[in-house]
Symmetry: C2
DNA sequence: CGGTCTTTTGAAGTGCTTCAAAATACGTGG
DNA sequence: CCACGTATTTTGAAGCACTTCAAAAGACCG
């Protein structure tokens, strides 16, 4: 297996211990087939290291690869005409991205933190899926799962600032390993660009949630004090 | 094949002439496999007639079926806590929906106009996909295509009212058969709920686009006068 | 510690919403 | 085909949630 680095430094990468898989994913990466796709990607793919802020692919690049986060956090984003940045999605360890069926990217992807991703040619995966139903099945499940994610995001963006922030935090508790302590890999600006708000509104809204005794906030950590309050606010 | 009606009236349904397929879809429903899934769905599925306003499935229903619009227009939607309705997506003839990987629906689906849909058990499709790679492939392509759609919607909702309406109209020109004359199957309120705006803002914004000589508007038709102006406004 | 980046806080501005009502389109029975 | 009642769309004026602009406070890192 090749190992390359976007920053030009090559990392010989030992195959690591299986990463802890959040419950969220275990539920979907279930039964037969789960390992088949994993093996297929590891076999045909390349591990790439990246550092914070680095671009992984650009807007309008050919969409011929599929990605899986091994460590670190990645986001897709697009710069709007007025200069604002909208983040499409955050991808945490074990999340796959780049699954959408387009010829060219409509988003860019960038690293939120240092990390490693597994990069696989889509065509190679499709070929494997063509004669291994387990691979095909798992690829479909992943894609259909990402679809549900994107649909939930459409709903989130229809809500008020307080509901968006609450929804974001609830989603994070489900995606991160520790249930009540959210260790945020991203900055306030990233959260703002994800929720379609300004950084000031995010800051003020977090304070509001804190005043409602729903959470405790520090710069990079959010402690969920009252999950039901948060859920109620989420709507 | 069975034929049922949600309105309780049974329609004996002759197999109709092949529906005109918009270019948009031809591009993706290409080559080998396209017919395989189509045949699979027709073979294992049921055709259901519905009339305007009727619900096709409800929020929290088991998500065990996949749908394809034959005629008419369908939308998925969710009622938010404050009573507002957010439309997830519109589905036009030949569009598939309900592909997302969840156990229960997070949206409801309803008919925007009278029409017919093809309803297939997801499990049946998955079983067929398990021993026919062409079916599996086409199912993945459809799902990955729907994913790209949903991601584009996230971007749309980040924009200004004028950009949203322009973007909506451009999308419609791509999805509907006639290129410059958009025959809207939905009401202003549906458009508003789709774009996360109020009906008043949609009305005012359409007028604005008309004043910019980008379009002509009547109640159920929009004529695109200047596609490049519309694209520029879209951002 | 000193410098820089990030976050918070405050005050004023604005794009969209809300509320209200007129104008128009639509369906239906006569 | 017209008249009438209802549903939809448009238009106007006021309000508000979030943004913008500005600056202080705090966090991070060599």
């Amino acid at each position: 297996m090749q190992t390359t680095s976007l920053s030009g430094v090559s990392h010989p990468l030992p195959v690591e211990d299986p990463l802890p898989i959040p419950e969220y994913h275990q539920h979907h990466a279930n039964r037969e087939g789960s390992q088949a796709l994993e093996r297929a990607m590891l076999h045909t793919g390349v591990i790439v290291s990246f550092s914070r802020g680095e671009d992984i692919f650009g807007d309008d690049d050919p969409a011929d690869k599929v990605y899986k986060v091994l460590t670190g956090t990645v986001c897709t984003y697009k710069i709007l005409s007025d200069g604002r940045r909208q983040i499409g999605e955050f991808y945490l360890p074990n999340d796959s991205f780049g699954l959408e069926n387009v010829s060219r990217r409509s988003h860019s992807a960038a690293a939120i933190t240092d990390g490693k991703i597994l990069v696989t040619k889509r065509a190679a995966l499709m070929a494997l899926a063509g004669h291994d139903p387990a691979v095909a099945r798992q690829l479909l499940i992943l894609t259909a799962f990402e679809l549900a994610r994107a649909q939930d995001r459409v709903l989130l963006l229809a809500k008020t600032a307080e509901e968006r922030v609450a929804g974001f935090l609830i989603d994070m508790t489900k995606r991160l390993p520790a249930r009540n302590l959210i260790e945020l890999p991203m900055l306030r600006q990233d959260i703002a660009d994800y929720l379609g708000l300004t950084i000031e509104t995010v800051s003020r809204t977090l304070k509001l949630l804190k005043d409602h005794s729903a959470i405790d906030v520090s710069t990079r950590k959010v402690m969920v004090r009252n999950h039901s309050t948060l859920s109620r606010i989420n709507g």
